[in-house]
């Protein structure tokens, strides 16, 4: 995967060094002069810079990284973590929504239902996928597949990657809010294990609509938020350009999310982000899914559902005064 064609602002120093390295290698090949010392020096400098940059990303830089156009999307993971994926289409009500994909698959031979929000890789693809912003049909398709999974006793894996549900006229006419609400409610009672991983953008209700799970995990360079940083900036700062401040104020980094009890685990990404090594990123993902699945499958249905209810029931931080009036 060529990750050098698109460079984020904070990655520029890295690109410069990488360019120097390539130039040096070319020179060495053409002139047969030994520059291995210089190459080594640049390489170690590169490694140091990489670990400096990526170990200390600001919340806004993380948002940029998880929106990287080369970042692996749901289908990239599905083809790497499972076999025999049979994509199933449509909500049986109105249409098929390509912003959410789903179907049956085998995870090391074990049947699972995988559902994921899907962005497009290029303009044409993005028009089809609506930039990963689902319409109501997407949520209804997802619930149809989840009910199917429950019927045939298959664990459910959902991959979250959306800026949010689509704010469109048709979406409102067909009640996107209701579609999300029904999913959130009904996921709380599905009698099979559910595992959710936020693999990129976890945009508000549009994300939560497929994310009420026994185990909620997040990839290291992802975010999960009540509102996009731009949206928050527009409302509270009256200026979308304040998005970096909003990203910080919203405290939606994986570490914060774990502290709040909203995610259970953070999945590490390859150095420099998941887009630099799809296979390795998928391997990390699969390992976490498998170990959680093993754990969840040991629970009785009752205990699974009780735990899931309690998990969400306990979310929120408020004060309860001791004296009542």
């Amino acid at each position: 995967m060529d990750h050098t064609t698109y460079t984020l602002e904070f990655e520029k120093p890295l690109r410069e060094l990488e360019k120097q390295l390539i130039a040096l290698q070319q020179v060495s090949e053409e002139t047969k002069v030994d520059v291995s010392q210089e190459i080594k020096a640049i390489e170690s400098k590169l490694e140091l810079l990489k670990s400096n940059i990526y170990s200390d990303l600001s919340p806004w830089q993380r948002v940029q990284l998880c929106r990287h156009p080369k970042r692996p999307y749901s289908l990239d993971y599905i083809e790497r973590i499972s076999t025999d994926f049979e994509e199933l289409h449509g909500d049986r009500r109105f249409k098929d929504d390509p912003a959410i994909v789903g179907g049956t698959a085998l995870l090391d031979g074990e049947p699972v239902m995988i559902i994921g929000q899907q962005k497009g890789r290029n303009t044409k693809d993005n028009l089809k996928r609506n930039f990963g912003c689902p319409n109501p049909e997407g949520y209804r398709k997802a619930m149809r597949l989840m009910k199917m999974a429950e019927k045939f006793n298959m664990p459910i894996i959902t991959l979250v990657d959306t800026p949010g549900a689509y704010p469109g006229i048709g979406a409102e006419e067909r009640h996107v809010a209701e579609a999300i609400a029904v999913n959130i409610r009904d996921m709380s009672t599905l009698k099979v294990p559910i595992i959710t991983i936020v693999i990129g953008e976890g945009g508000s209700g549009g994300a939560l609509g497929i994310a009420v799970a026994d185990s909620v995990m997040i990839l290291e360079n992802s975010y999960y938020s009540v509102i996009s940083p731009e949206g928050c900036a527009a409302i509270l700062w009256k200026d979308r350009a304040a998005a970096p401040q909003a990203a910080k104020a919203l405290k939606f980094s994986p570490t914060n999310l774990k502290e709040f009890g909203v995610v259970d685990d953070i999945i590490s990404e390859p150095a420099g982000g998941a887009h630099r090594d799809y296979d390795l990123a998928a391997k990390h993902l699969k390992n976490e899914i498998k170990s959680n699945l093993t754990r969840l499958k040991k629970l009785s249905t009752k205990s699974l559902l009780d735990k899931r209810y309690k998990k969400f029931r306990n979310m929120g931080i408020f004060e309860e005064l001791t004296e009542t009036n």
Partner: protein
């Protein structure tokens, strides 16, 4: 302007602000001027035009429940500031200001009472308090109201009005959608009725959870109801919005809302529904 020098004004104009604020109100529909006292007696509905102004939570409760039957619960729950959130203003101050302004502790008032002698658990959102945004405290009170409904087999009534989740509480406010909806799943399993009443405006996260999950969904006339805000939709789609988009009437036509009910008829309507659902026979 320079040739004429400084303009001289001799006419005295009556500016809007000169009309005593707490005596008159103008109807946004017909521009009719109406006495506030009359408006209040009429539950903030303009008598001629039937325009529904927002109504505070306590007035809603007393208009719906049998007189003197309301027993407030969970009054000891308060919002905290888990994110230590500051934008142009800080969240803690904002909550304090709103408490002072409304004389309420937060957006939700909840408890139990009776409608035509049928016991109910009720939660009402007060739009005056930070646009009735849904934070952890509000989500907790709503969840407890639903759980009390489960425990006592009391029908649950939630009157919503909200701009959405309270973003100053970040992801924790989003999780209130899951918390409240999961509690409703339990209520539904017990076959206890839930009536969701939508008032102006009910948007975003609140619509994407309990407000959309009523066995029956009632709406006051001409309320703004939806997921995304109209401005956001317009900017995103670059399309003109249809006439009456996201109003109660639009949602009735598009099949989400069961019925549009005038505020004065809400009590009778809810009473008839609860009777139909068998609440009157409860021992």
């Amino acid at each position: 302007m320079a040739i004429f020098g400084k303009p001289q004004y001799s006419t005295v104009t009556v500016k809007k602000k000169d009309i005593p604020k707490d005596v008159w109100t103008k109807c946004p529909k017909t521009n009719e001027i109406i006495y506030n006292r009359v408006l209040k007696e009429n539950l903030m509905v303009v008598p001629n035009s039937d325009y529904h102004f927002p109504l505070d939570a306590r007035s809603r409760i007393s208009s719906l429940l049998d007189e003197g039957s309301f027993k407030e619960q969970d009054t000891n729950i308060r919002s905290l500031d888990p994110l230590n959130f500051t934008a142009t203003a800080n969240y803690k101050d904002k909550v304090k200001q709103n408490q002072k302004k409304t004389n309420e502790t937060d957006t939700v008032i909840s408890g139990e009472g009776t409608i035509q002698n049928m016991p109910v658990n009720i939660a009402v959102m007060d739009f005056r308090f930070m646009g009735a945004s849904l934070g952890s405290a509000a989500g907790e009170k709503i969840t407890r109201a639903i759980e009390n409904g489960c425990k006592n087999k009391n029908p649950v009534i939630i009157i919503s009005a909200s701009g959405g989740a309270r973003m100053q509480e970040g992801i924790l406010s989003l999780m209130q959608l899951a918390k409240t909806s999961a509690a409703l799943a339990k209520l539904s399993e017990l076959k206890v009725p839930f009536i969701s009443i939508l008032t102006n405006p009910t948007m975003a996260g609140v619509m994407a959870s309990y407000a959309s999950l009523g066995d029956v969904i009632l709406a006051e006339p001409e309320a703004l109801i939806g997921f995304a805000g109209p401005r956001v939709i317009k900017e995103t789609t670059q399309q003109d919005l249809p006439k009456g988009f996201q109003t109660s009437e639009f949602l009735l036509e598009h099949g989400l809302v069961d019925k549009i009910v005038h505020r004065h008829k809400m009590r009778d309507t809810v009473g008839r529904l609860l009777t139909a659902f068998g609440s009157g026979k409860a021992s």
